[in-house]
């Protein structure tokens, strides 16, 4: 029985006395994936930021790779890959330069080769030397996915990874997620609604009123909708 990759105990977060997260308890094991559904302002991004170590919880604990997220050392941060609403990319640098920069930050042996490889993988080889500010939102999102995954992270924190992507982009990112899981990575992703992803086994949860609970859309079950969810447990 190995240790969970991500664990939280009664995690809570308030901004100026307004609660955003209340009593969130998570146990995510290696090689597993989960989607968290919730509306705008539900706290999904906050939760991911806390798990990434970018913010501290107001109460409770968040533990990633066995370490408190407030004290994540570089060895563990190297193993986390994150996608957010913001792309973390420099608009005045080219796609290639951005990836090479991040590759160097993550101490990848051959940053130039890694950048080229990932540009291919996300279908941006043709726009490699275009500045990020000149890319479309969808292309920027794909580049952001490349940035998140180029260091082969074992934990992927993806905040609405399919936003602004066309069908081709969605299947591309989905296949990247799939490969990551096959390599044994864990995924925690968020979305507004349950994504339609064939071939991906995910548990789906809902973040509502700051609490995390299994997603149980009864209408969809009755309609026989296409989503995979393990209810209850």
């Amino acid at each position: 029985m190995s240790a969970p990759v991500v664990e939280t105990h009664a995690l809570a977060k308030t901004y100026r006395l307004a609660p955003v997260l209340r009593e969130v308890n998570i146990r995510l094991m290696a090689g597993r994936g989960a989607f968290i559904i919730g509306g705008n302002g539900a706290g999904k991004s906050t939760l991911l930021r806390i798990l990434a170590g970018l913010e501290a919880p107001s109460d409770g604990r968040a533990i990633v790779f066995g370490n408190d997220t407030r004290k994540l050392g570089p060895r563990y941060r190297r193993r986390i890959g994150m996608m957010a609403h913001q792309s973390f990319l420099y608009p005045n640098l080219t796609a290639r330069e951005n990836l090479e920069f991040y590759a160097e930050l993550y101490s990848i042996a051959d940053p130039v080769a890694a950048a080229s490889l990932w540009l291919e993988r996300v279908g941006l080889a043709g726009s490699a030397d275009a500045r990020v500010r000149d890319l479309s939102r969808g292309m920027e999102q794909r580049l952001s996915a490349a940035r998140a995954m180029l260091a082969d992270p074992t934990l992927l924190l993806l905040d609405e990874p399919f936003a602004a992507l066309d069908a081709e982009g969605v299947s591309l990112v989905a296949s990247l997620i799939h490969s990551a899981i096959e390599r044994g990575a864990s995924i925690l992703a968020t979305a507004h609604s349950v994504p339609e992803l064939d071939g991906l086994e995910f548990e789906v949860f809902e973040l509502s009123h700051g609490r995390l609970m299994p997603y149980a859309p009864k209408e969809e079950v009755r309609r026989g909708g296409r989503f995979r969810s393990i209810l209850g447990r």
């Binding site: 105990h9 009664a10 809570a12 308030t14 100026r16 006395l17 307004a18 609660p19 955003v20 209340r22 009593e23 969130v24 308890n25 998570i26 146990r27 995510l28 094991m29 597993r32 989960a34 302002g41 539900a42 706290g43 501290a56 107001s58 109460d59 548990e203 949860f205 009123h209 700051g210 609490r211 995390l212 609970m213 299994p214 447990r233």
Partner: protein, 261 residues
Amino acid sequence: MDTATRDYLTPDPLPSVSQTRGKGNNRGSWFGFATLALMIAALFMIFDYVPTEIDEGIVQRIFYFHVPCAWVAFAAFGLVAVAGMLYLWLGDQIWDDLGYAGAETGMIFCTLMLVSGSLWARPIWGVWWTWDSRLTTTFILWLMYCGYLMIRASADDTPQIARFAAVVGIVAALDVPIVIVSVRLWRTIHPAVLVTKQGGHGLQDPRMIATLLVSLAAMTALWGWLLMIRFAQLRTRTRLNTVAMQIEFAHAAAGDQRPIG
């Protein structure tokens, strides 16, 4: 991934009303009376007991206000820096409250020192302000106090702001020695009646030294008393915030489904 809930620990019980009276307040009053006594003693000594200085006349008596204010202003700044270091190291809000209280109270004495310095300069040197080394250094200190308080006043009380203030307090305090050296090298026309580095001083009469010491004690006591009051206020505010959060979490544990915000 499972989302099993767990028993939520009950928050700290609020102190009963009878517990809030008494100890803290009594200590404050005792200290306040001691401060008052010291100040009365100091005032008597400054205006009646100590002999008039030969060179500067009656105006020289400002010296016995001016110098203790300076001492307090610098000491308070040191306190802000130490509290800042403890806050960054230990993370406990109590150190941040102490630093903030220290800065506010220290600012008062820094301002008083500048004003008394100006009032002194006018009859003695004929100008309202002079850039001699001690006044200049204190003015720079005053500006750094302003900056610190501006940080505090300009934003909500997040841990982030508290950390920024702590860093500024530390760095500014470390800067002060360099400021002193550079300003001293730059200019010195302060009268030799003040205690200098060599240990000598222009205070001829032992009564002058006694008055200075009593005034020093009185000013320090006054600062300490103001500090205690302000610190207690900030602690109360921190506790109220904590209790508010605990109520929120208790609601959460009870399964409260109220919407966010």
